[in-house]
């Protein structure tokens, strides 16, 4: 006969049930926290990428359905776990052995299947309806978009171009954009190389960037704040370091920011920055553009207003002088595989370039 004692697995499914409850409590707590009215520097403050709390029109619509699904899932899991554990506790006996337990077809049990499957089907039908209604709700923005931004994903950074009927007002920037709150913004999303996915969780769902295609989507922020996004389709070595930020401004702040971005870079004033621009043109200008200077490369990010951005290297580093200098000197040690090469810069050269770049407000 079988060796060893046989213990009843009475609390078999208690672990996942408890963990589920803990998960729920944590999520609900965080939800309460992050919907507090103060505008934190990064919104939502604690987990800037979470999407159980919404800060945009589209995200609100998705959020209702998402929480509906989360609750349904938890209820179903707990219910089935309880049924399994209770069945075991009620029908099982400690120490029972297969060979000595009689075999019997007691009751046919089909009612379980009829009721269980019937209820499941009903609930599913409700959720299909809810899903389709939500899909229709977010398919189009609630009002005509105030602004269209072209998004081009690159390995591993984001290029943004603000459309404008007046071509002199079209401008490009990278990795960090501003939008006005309270109005829908339209995004035309494509890629320069492989498939990426454009995603700012607190504002809405993701859209893949497909070579040879342009996908359109829209987002609307309902509170000023900084919303973090990140590439969410695997795109190679530095997929992990391809973040972006959307800064939602009041319409007034946005207008100010936009007019500054449209302007070309201020010309250098002192010897150091003049030398810096000259070295930049020579060493960096093949890839980077600074509007108002001869540097007009189209491979890397537009740096015309570099200092107006809070991060560099696609959200990887805070835009501090130390980080900027380190990045220019040795990008490959910071972000291995990045398409920006290590170029051999002399000490004075590096200093001049960095000093010049820091004037690009």
């Amino acid at each position: 006969m079988m060796p060893g004692p046989l213990h009843p697995p009475g609390h078999l499914a208690v672990a996942p049930v408890l963990a589920m409850a803990a998960w729920l409590a944590l999520a609900a707590g965080a939800r309460a926290q992050t919907t507090s009215p103060e505008v934190a520097p990064l919104t939502p403050a604690q987990w800037p990428m979470n999407y159980w709390s919404a800060f945009g029109t589209q995200a609100h619509a998705i959020n209702g359905l998402l929480w509906g699904l989360i609750w349904l899932s938890i209820i179903v899991c707990v219910l089935i776990a309880v049924l399994v554990v209770a069945g075991i506790a009620i029908r099982g006996r400690r120490g029972r052995q297969p060979a000595t337990t009689p075999v019997e077809r007691s009751g046919n049990g089909m009612a379980w299947i009829y009721i269980g499957v019937g209820l499941s089907t009903l609930v599913l039908v409700v959720y299909v309806g809810w899903t389709v209604a939500t899909m229709a709700g977010i398919a189009r923005p609630p009002a005509a978009p105030a602004l269209t931004i072209d998004v081009t994903a690159h390995q591993w950074w984001w290029e943004f171009r603000y459309e404008d009927p007046d071509t002199s007002k079209v401008f490009a920037t990278a990795n960090e954009i501003h939008i006005p709150v309270g109005v829908p913004v339209s995004f035309k999303v494509t890629t320069a190389d492989v498939i990426h996915s454009f995603w700012v969780p607190a504002l809405g769902g993701k859209t893949d960037t497909i070579p040879g295609r342009t996908n359109t989507m829209w987002l609307e922020a309902d509170k000023p704040g900084i919303y973090r996004g990140q590439c969410s389709e695997y795109c190679g070595e530095q997929h992990a370091q391809m973040a972006l930020r959307i800064v939602a401004d009041t319409p007034q702040d946005f207008a100010v920011w936009r007019s500054k971005q449209v302007a070309a870079a201020k010309p250098p004033t002192d010897d150091m920055t003049k030398a810096g621009l000259q070295r930049f043109q020579l060493r960096c200008g093949a890839c980077h553009t600074i509007r108002g200077t001869p540097a007009a490369g189209a491979v890397g990010p537009d740096l015309t207003h570099l200092m107006s951005r809070t991060t560099i290297a696609a959200g990887m580093l805070a835009n501090t002088p130390a980080n900027l200098g380190g990045w220019i000197a040795n990008p490959q040690s910071i972000k291995p595989g990045a398409l920006m090469p290590n170029i051999e810069l002399s000490g004075p050269e590096l200093q001049a370039i960095e000093t010049y770049l820091r004037t690009l407000e």
Partner: protein, 650 residues
């Protein structure tokens, strides 16, 4: 498989009348000992165990890769792995677990069990069976050889174009994967054909289709699925290889190709594949759980129909992997609806298992622990799947750790827990010895707790916005503590698996003898000794119900199965073929001897794929010719198999 045109009925006898029969059959069926026998055997039991051992070896490799990744992710900004190494590891982890562990382990059980539960002496095509195993092993080693040359596949198991094209991936990394998958597809395809024919023709007399065990239904259903799904992926990888080697333009948008073509072809295969690697495990649970509840399964017919329906619907939901690619609303709605509906057949199985527990008398063996946990894990993996079927929610959930949690609840919860339960249940039949219950329960609880600690919190990491396939993450994202917890859980899970493994190794040598039927189970495999003799059944049994060994107790039907009296079939290697639906005795099959040709053919095919990898026309051409020669030797007509006309007598 060849058929004999006997002029007279084969002899019917019993062991009492013919006590020398087992000895005669042993001589006819046994495999020669030693290396030759190990390579040449066509015994389905030996091949099944080879499959199981190899699949578990790949499980350990894939697990090791996962543990290294979990160390890298334990805290933000960790530098254990370079980005390139991390990408290679997550790719190989997926490839290993999904292709080299999950289906092969189920094929191992099915190979071992099919003839035993069906009352046959072997699979329909024994040499093809051996070939299927050797090709699987060769394809697995072929893909793992990429580690030796330092060019490991690095675009994930899903391998999206254009990142997998030469422009972005110039090394041979992707060629290893593309060619390896085409190679592996050969094994999967011939294996599936073998299962299907075996079920249709090699059942014991009387085992009409409504008496077939559910595990057989599971594997047969997915085998039909394999025949439809694998061509899509073999084609996809072949086109990819052409794009890479010959500059064709299937996936390259710059020259008019379509990167999304890859996604459609891949998911047309890969979504059905998810059902392919869980339905046989569900089948094993549907057969074994009721035995441990001491009653027949509740709702046999609806569970079988649910199994088939799941596979059929499984072919209509592939686009739910692509909701974010920018689809028209109507297309998204259709695939969303289909993905909701596929839950219904799964719900049938869940409620059938719950009902079986509630109307039975559960016996708390280790296998029962795994099966009970399986039900709950199944539901957790199922509902998170429903969440991703809702398109708007999926636009947030997709490509986050939420989906990582989901896929692991499906693959570990439904495949691994089912497999470990099945291992504790059928190991006595394979080895003749019981696994240790005390070790088994320790192994179960450690595995169970470790798994849930590792993966339940990942739902939350996903809701906190952590994307998949990132080699690191910033501290400001706030994902650190939960990742640390997941890493701890992963190590606990690994310890649990090692305890199970230790139990297998120990009990294999020192376990308590099981006897033919340790669980007092009702199906044919338990009517013969453990381990079964090479010929399985001395006399071909005749079946009168779904539960031949429980008939007297269940009072099922009027007829009784005949296990101690039946066809003798001892004129060389023979077994009986029956009709497709009713399993009436039809013809006698002449079964092939052990043969080295399946092994040699697989070896030469490996040379062919290596030649293609090295882009050497000469190696490939030479290997191609050799393969044709191998097949010629393999299929050379043999008089013993009645493939040569008999000499005409006067």
């Amino acid at each position: 498989m060849a058929t004999a045109d006997y002029e007279e009925m084969p002899q019917i006898s019993s062991l009492a009348d013919d006590p020398g029969l087992p000895e005669r059959l042993q001589k006819i069926w046994e495999t020669k000992p030693g290396l030759y026998g190990w390579i040449a055997t066509v015994d389905h039991k030996q091949i099944g165990i080879k499959y199981l051992v190899t699949a578990f070896a790949f499980l350990l490799l894939g697990g090791l890769e996962a543990l290294v990744m979990r160390v890298q992710l334990a805290q933000p900004g960790e530098r254990v792995l370079s980005p390139e190494q991390y990408d290679e590891l997550f790719s190989m982890h997926g490839i290993t677990m999904i292709f080299l562990y999950a289906l092969p382990v189920l094929s191992g059980f099915s190979n071992f069990l099919f003839p035993l539960v069906l009352g046959s002496r072997d699979m329909a095509f024994p040499r093809l069976n051996a070939f299927s195993y050797w090709v699987y092993l060769a394809a697995g080693l072929f893909m793992y050889a990429s580690f030796l040359v330092g060019a490991v596949p690095n675009d994930g198991w899903f391998n999206y174009a254009p990142y997998s094209l030469k422009t972005y991936n110039p090394g041979p990394n992707m060629d290893f994967y593309a060619l390896g998958m085409i190679f592996l597809g050969i094994s999967t395809t011939v294996g599936a054909a073998n299962f299907i024919v075996t079920v249709m023709r090699l059942r014991a007399p009387g085992m009409s289709i409504n008496r077939i065990p559910i595990l057989v239904w599971g594997t047969t259903t997915i085998s039909v699925g394999v025949l439809f799904a694998v061509p899509a992926v073999s084609l996809a990888f072949f086109l990819l290889w052409c794009d890479r080697q010959f500059g064709t333009h299937f996936y390259n948008a710059d020259s008019g190709g379509q990167p999304l073509l890859w996604q459609h072809l891949f998911w047309m295969f890969a979504h059905p594949w998810v059902y392919i690697i869980v339905l046989p495990a569900m089948g094993m649970v549907s057969d074994a759980l009721p035995i441990l509840c001491r009653r027949p399964l509740v709702g046999y017919t609806v569970v079988v129909l649910g199994t088939v329906l799941t596979m059929v619907l499984g072919f209509g939901v592939w686009v739910h992997h692509m909701f974010a690619v920018g689809l028209p609303l109507v297309a998204s709605s259709f695939f969303s609806g289909a993905s909701f509906i596929i839950t219904i057949p799964s719900a049938i199985a869940v409620f059938a298992w719950v009902a079986t527990i509630w109307t039975g008398r559960p016996v708390f063996t280790t296998a029962f622990h795994y099966f009970a946990a399986f039900i709950v894990m199944f539901v957790i993996g199922g509902v998170s799947g429903v969440m991703t079927a809702a398109v708007p929610a999926d636009l947030e959930l997709t490509d986050t750790y939420f989906v990582v949690a989901h896929i692991h609840y499906v693959l570990i919860g439904i495949n691994l827990f089912g497999v470990l339960g099945a291992l504790y249940f059928w190991f006595p039949k394979m080895s003749g010895r019981l696994l240790d219950e005390r070790w088994g329960k320790w192994g179960f609880w450690i595995t169970f707790i470790g798994f849930n600690v590792a993966f339940l919190p990942m739902h939350l990491t996903g809701l906190m916005g952590m994307p998949r396939r990132v080699y690191t993450y910033p501290a400001e994202a706030g994902w650190g503590p939960i990742n640390l917890l997941s890493t701890a859980g992963a190590f606990l899970l690994a310890i649990g698996i090692l305890v199970v493994l230790a139990d297998v190794i120990r009990s294999h040598r020192t376990g308590v003898f099981a006897g033919p039927n340790p669980w007092d189970a009702p199906t044919l495999e338990w009517s013969i000794p453990s381990p079964p003799p090479p010929y399985n059944f001395a006399l071909i049994p005749a079946v009168a119900s779904r539960h031949p060994l429980w008939e007297d107790r269940l009072q099922e039907g009027s007829g009784r199965s005949q296990l101690d009296r039946g066809f003798v079939l001892d004129d060389g290697k023979e077994t009986l073929a029956t009709t497709v639906l009713d399993a009436e005795p039809d013809i006698i099959l002449k079964m092939p001897e052990d043969s080295p040709w399946p092994f040699i053919t697989a070896l030469v095919m490996c040379a062919l794929f290596t030649g293609m990898l090295l882009q050497s026309v000469w190696v490939s051409a030479a290997a191609g010719v050799l393969i044709l020669l191998c097949i010629l030797f393999w299929l050379w007509p043999k008089r013993r198999l009645l493939q040569v006309a008999r000499p005409q007598h006067g």
